[in-house]
Subunit: 216 residues, 2 copies
DNA sequence: TAGATTGTTAATCGATTAACAATC
DNA sequence: TAGATTGTTAATCGATTAACAATC
């Protein structure tokens, strides 16, 4: 039996995190008129180990590099965008139209990353019905029904921490499979639901801690 | 020679990332009227390994847990806030008053995490002089001078990606030691400067990738 | 050909988890 | 005392880096 399938290369979470940086750099080089790039050049730019770069690229890309030359930039970009899912748009709902929620709604760039925020929700009756960045704010009462009806798989939580779990439960009720959580709170959810925490408090803590160590 | 110094426990970057979650949970328990908590309970709540929790707590806390009882919640909170630097406010400047910059400026919670945004900068002359969340927007021309004069150590970059490196250079010029970078771009800076990337594109990519794998 | 670069296999490094004695 | 929990030492796991043959 011929094994035609691509080997299921496991990409570590750290490697996955590096991917957008590769992509960004590749586009920069392409914009500068380059057509090929070596793993070593990428490594130097991003201050990474060149073997690591080669492994990362090999994991997500079907093209091979040519000794003494490097990789075709266009090929890598295509493969990486494909891998990162930037090519197929996914629908999402956003809950919580405070300042951060508004900022995310007004950000035009998410479509480039494959994310389409189709609706915004808030529990404040004064906000329900108003329009933010061309979307009408809906009541959180309709949240789970909306998700079910439109088969939305991604929920973005931008409510204050104390309300986060409740919103999470509503999203789960609506059949959501992945949550992008901006609330500084730990969410409880079934194993199969993906939770991506965007905890700015955590990031800030890391920054301030490292700064403290550095200036000691 | 007596070694009175606390052992220089190395806290991994992953561990550091868990700290804010511990702190949050501890405060929740305290708010619920608890005074002690076991590492096991923390581990169960946050879906971590209990030995890991004990190691993490031991690394940042001077108090020891009591067998059969656990840890004093208040002690842990004190130690952790201290460790994370939430008790000593650090000054920062923010550059780029687009939607994300505004969202961060309007967020009242940063002071709880030890961050004080003292000024906002933008290169758009129309915005310079306007007020956002009780701060007057200054011109980026004055950025490095301002940082030098007030001895600011932290810079927050919320400008579009193509402008990020230029702003970074200005901040470095102003003697900044740490940068919290929200632009989806890789910044070049000397080794000793801390760069904390808050790359939403990267997070989003991870979410969408994992979702893709899960629904396959 | 010589030099540069690739990709793979093995070694190293670091973090997580398991095992277990110590303690309240 | 027995049971629960702690903290430490050792084993495991996974990611990064080093070494090196293969290739253009």
């Amino acid at each position: 039996m011929p094994q035609q399938k691509k080997a299921p290369v496991v990409v570590s979470i750290q490697a996955l995190h590096r991917m957008p940086y590769y992509l960004h750099l590749l586009k920069d080089y392409q914009a500068a008129g380059e057509t090929v790039i070596s793993a070593k050049a990428v490594a130097t730019e991003l201050r990474l180990n060149d073997v690591q770069v080669r492994k990362d690229l090999a994991a997500v890309s079907s093209v091979k590099g040519r000794p003494n030359t490097g990789f075709e930039i266009q090929d890598l970009i295509d493969n990486m965008e494909d891998y990162l899912g930037y090519n197929n748009l996914m629908d999402a709902v956003l809950v919580g139209t405070g300042s951060l929620g508004r900022a995310l709604l007004s950000y035009k760039g998410f479509e480039n990353y494959g994310l389409n925020i189709v609706a915004a929700f808030d529990n404040n009756p004064d906000l329900v019905g108003t329009r933010i960045s061309e979307r009408t704010v809906k009541s959180t009462e309709d949240l789970s029904d909306f998700c079910k009806r439109l088969k939305i798989h991604i929920g973005i939580i931008t409510v204050p921490a104390p309300a986060a779990q409740e919103v999470c439960d509503q999203l789960l009720d609506g059949g959501i499979l992945a949550i992008w959580n901006f609330a500084p709170a730990h969410l409880s959810a079934p194993e199969h639901v993906l939770i991506q925490d965007e905890n700015m408090a955590a990031s800030l803590a890391m920054l301030s801690r490292k700064l403290k160590e550095a200036t000691r």
